[in-house]
Symmetry: C2
């Protein structure tokens, strides 16, 4: 087995557009973190919005396991792209390796992100300002795009970001 199997295609503009589209249009994603107690990976569903540069944003409760994990270890992975009808593997999906950055409640960045999240998820106004909730920015490091059978690409952070 090669480290980079020959099925990986050269990244082109179509692949970049597809990847950014999967991130931008997603209202939710699967978020994987490292459980600080066991070292196991742990995957859960999160609501997402995207920042001005395309970075995913999550709003999480301090009581939740994924929040506790990210506070101890910022290494994360996100899966974007929902399967529609038919074969689930025929639909494009994107795995993004990320570093999670917790945001302070004060400042312009928090206000910008709060507005973007509210715009995508109006019902989050019910809990967005709860004191135990906070935002993380998931800074993309690189990604693996599967555009359907035989259409695999490796993307850089630059390929994914819009600024």
């Amino acid at each position: 087995m090669n480290d980079k199997p020959s099925v990986i295609r050269e990244t082109d503009e179509d692949a970049r557009i597809l990847a950014r589209d999967l991130m931008h249009k997603a209202a939710h994603a699967a978020l994987a973190v490292i459980d600080p107690e066991t070292g196991f990976p742990s995957v859960s569903r999160v609501l997402i919005a995207d920042d001005v540069d395309g970075a995913p944003l999550i709003l999480v409760s301090g009581l939740s396991a994924h929040t506790k994990a990210l506070m101890k270890d910022p290494r994360a992975s996100m899966l974007f792209g929902e399967p529609g009808k038919g074969d689930p593997l025929a639909h494009p999906r994107l795995t993004v390796r990320c570093s999670a950055q917790r945001l302070d409640r004060q400042g312009d960045t928090h206000e910008r992100i709060r507005m973007r999240f509210l715009d995508r998820h109006p019902k989050s106004k019910l809990y967005i300002d709860f004191p135990d909730f906070c935002f993380f920015r998931l800074i993309p490091l690189d990604a693996s795009l599967n555009g359907g059978f035989g259409r695999a690409y490796i993307l850089s952070a630059e390929d994914l970001m819009t600024l």
Copy 2:
């Protein structure tokens, strides 16, 4: 913050049935593994079937990143349950902590699992016998069930299994 927040409910038969149902009815899931090169978690989409005892089964290519990861580190996590219409977090989902066991191609176990997988995914006959494909059984260790807002449960392996 408590280790076990008060929002965790006592596990009852309804919670067990919902969790088993989410695992049993799923045709695909999000699989999180530890990337052996970086130590990051990595989450991707996999087709699944279930074994006679309820354990999830996956058929994976030796070329794929998740297969290489599981060969080095059997610690895994799986997310079951698809969001339907409306708020994605209003729909039940289940995170299962698993230990991945690779299956030999010979023997009755392989034949049973091959038939169960084919039954769930008839199109997999196109590649199920390719020499670089193999099955893993994901042995559940415990799980976190979220049945919708405020309906969280911790389940044991016994709660999840049907034998």
